[in-house]
Symmetry: C2
Subunit: 355 residues, 2 copies
């Protein structure tokens, strides 16, 4: 679950009002909810003014906290990233990203086309100095609150250095979003012994052990151990992270189908279901993905938070909270200073520009 | 769930009576249960006769169906595979494997040390001609019965040809153990589009599409789609397969902890739990791993079935059923003839012995 601190921001958060299955309503209702949760928040809303204005007319507090940048162009959900980059320069998504790049906004939140959002953010922001590959980070449920998992699919192939950088970025993410003071970090692997796994993982493990950074590296974590909640930052290449995330999603759906089927099986179990409604709602609530909405593309020189395309207002509100926490904690400055400290401690590891 | 056919075998099944946390009791009680399920089954029991005989004295039918090969040596659960190979030549595990190699038994089932069992099986049986890497296959629950997943951890790095061979081996496994006539096969990937995933996966996909074999290759399957049950054989490298298997295990455990907690939360939910006992037991039963016990090390010139170390009698009995089905369906002959057919159709793909 995303922690709700009293974080504040000088600059508004940029919202792509036209992105998402239920845009602009989910965006604007989510913004209204976020404003109640974090009074003082400001928004810049990018999108068609005729579609945005009716919502603002009915919500004077949101209207007072928001300015609107009108555009009638937007990125369709099935548009290819390359096409979005070429033809979407005036789109609500692009203008929102540009506003962060130009220093007018602190972060952007969009429920629109994921590929286009990632590609545009990368082109506009550029990567942070020294970062090879940006990674997608998001929250994952455990028995003791949530953990951060990354990369969830941006990079199929990752070097040891990439995995090391993901760990440092995930550490900063967990501090900002989960409010952990010293998150426990581990590499996702198929065993806990040193000789297990790919070469890249073993080497990344050595780099983390010997980093000289003030981080809490715990070694390897296996897939079945992640839900125990002992680890706050689970690091993997994008292929493995995506498989783990989606397998967990599929398993949760499998079990809820089993439960639904079973409670319909007899009159007695239907009565049991009635009396268990409260208990089953607690379970449903703990598994509710909306509470963990808001994935970040870490490693870029700007903050872009991706909301699920099917987000409702509550879900989008949580993605706004993620953006607020990341921006108010200056996550990118923290990532940069950690990586710089590592490079100072390990001149032999510095990337060779002539290589 | 393992199908229970009227399969029969000429030769006995070799049981490592000393392997597993509760050996020999789980092994012998499991064998007794399997004998009731499959009348006519014969066993050769490898282990200490003083520990085995008391069980046989109390069970005349099992005694009549079994012969005992005495040895007082066995492989400890923490023994290293290399040590087991060097020093375990008279162990119950090794003698059981040797009996399959020598043609005296049809298959071996052991709940003992996994690493030692795999290493010994590989050394004694050797790999099937043309197979590069043996793979671990096991059953995975879905909404429509079980599917087969492989490799679950034997090979961290896999070539396209390895993945292709896993698909052919998984096809034969699903036919034998799940009783499918033409199993639907897919490669586990992070998207369904052709350009997604590692190079090896894309190439293996081309090989499967163009195999000329009588198989039902469906393309890529994502982690969240596996539980839908549309796919009978899910193929992955051993790293990815292990992560998927263990993440699913962990998620199932997480949700059952959530459920237990929730039903204890109030008096009403405790009453609900009481009335829902039947329904919750149905769910528990569908998720019961014991029903899917019995992993096979596919690609070797002999059948070794690995039972969970913590197996009880019911669980071990299911592993025996897996061994029976694999042996009675002549799984290795079927794998060989498919691979041979592929090589005949694709002379350009043949392994170059001088490479």
């Amino acid at each position: 679950m995303i922690t709700h601190t009293a974080s504040t921001l000088d600059k508004p958060i940029a919202l792509d009002a036209m992105g998402g299955d239920a845009a602009p309503s989910c965006v604007l209702l989510g913004a209204d909810m976020a404003l109640k949760r974090h009074p003082g928040l400001k928004f810049t809303l990018f999108g068609h003014k005729d579609k945005i204005q009716p919502f603002l007319n009915d919500r004077p507090e949101l209207a007072a906290a928001s300015s609107v940048v009108h555009t009638d162009s937007f990125i369709a959900s099935d548009e290819k990233p390359s096409q979005a980059i070429r033809q979407g320069k005036d789109s609500s998504m692009r203008l929102a990203i540009d506003s962060v790049k130009d220093g007018k906004c602190s972060a952007v939140v969009s429920a629109g086309n994921t590929g286009a959002l990632m590609a545009m953010s990368k082109i506009v922001y550029k990567t942070l100095p020294g970062i090879n590959r940006p990674a997608i980070a998001a929250l994952f449920p455990t028995m003791k609150g949530d953990c951060v998992m990354l990369d969830l699919g941006a990079n199929v192939e990752c070097s040891a250095r990439d995995l090391f950088q993901f760990a440092v970025m995930g550490d900063a993410f967990a501090k900002a979003v989960l409010g952990k003071t010293k998150p426990a970090i581990a590499l996702l692997n198929i065993g806990s012994e040193e000789m297990k796994g790919h070469e890249e993982i073993k080497e990344a493990s050595m780099m983390l052990k010997d980093s000289g950074l003030n981080i809490d590296y715990k070694g390897f974590v296996e897939g079945h151990e992640v839900p125990n909640g002992e680890i706050d930052v689970v690091v993997a290449d994008g292929f493995t992270g995506n498989i783990a995330l989606k397998t967990a999603e599929g398993t949760a759906r499998l079990i809820s189908t089993y439960i639904k089927d079973a409670f319909k099986a007899s009159l007695l179990s239907k009565l049991g279901a009635l009396l268990s409604k409260g208990a089953l709602n607690i379970v449903k609530d703990r598994l509710d993905d909306r509470k963990r909405n808001g994935a970040m593309f870490l490693g870029l020189n700007g903050i872009t938070v991706k909301s699920h395309g099917s987000a409702d207002a509550y879900s989008f509100c949580n993605a706004i909270t993620v953006a607020l926490e990341l921006a108010s904690h200056n996550i990118n400055e923290k990532i940069l200073s950690e990586l710089q400290l590592y490079d100072e401690n390990h001149p032999e590891d510095a990337a060779d520009p002539f290589e």
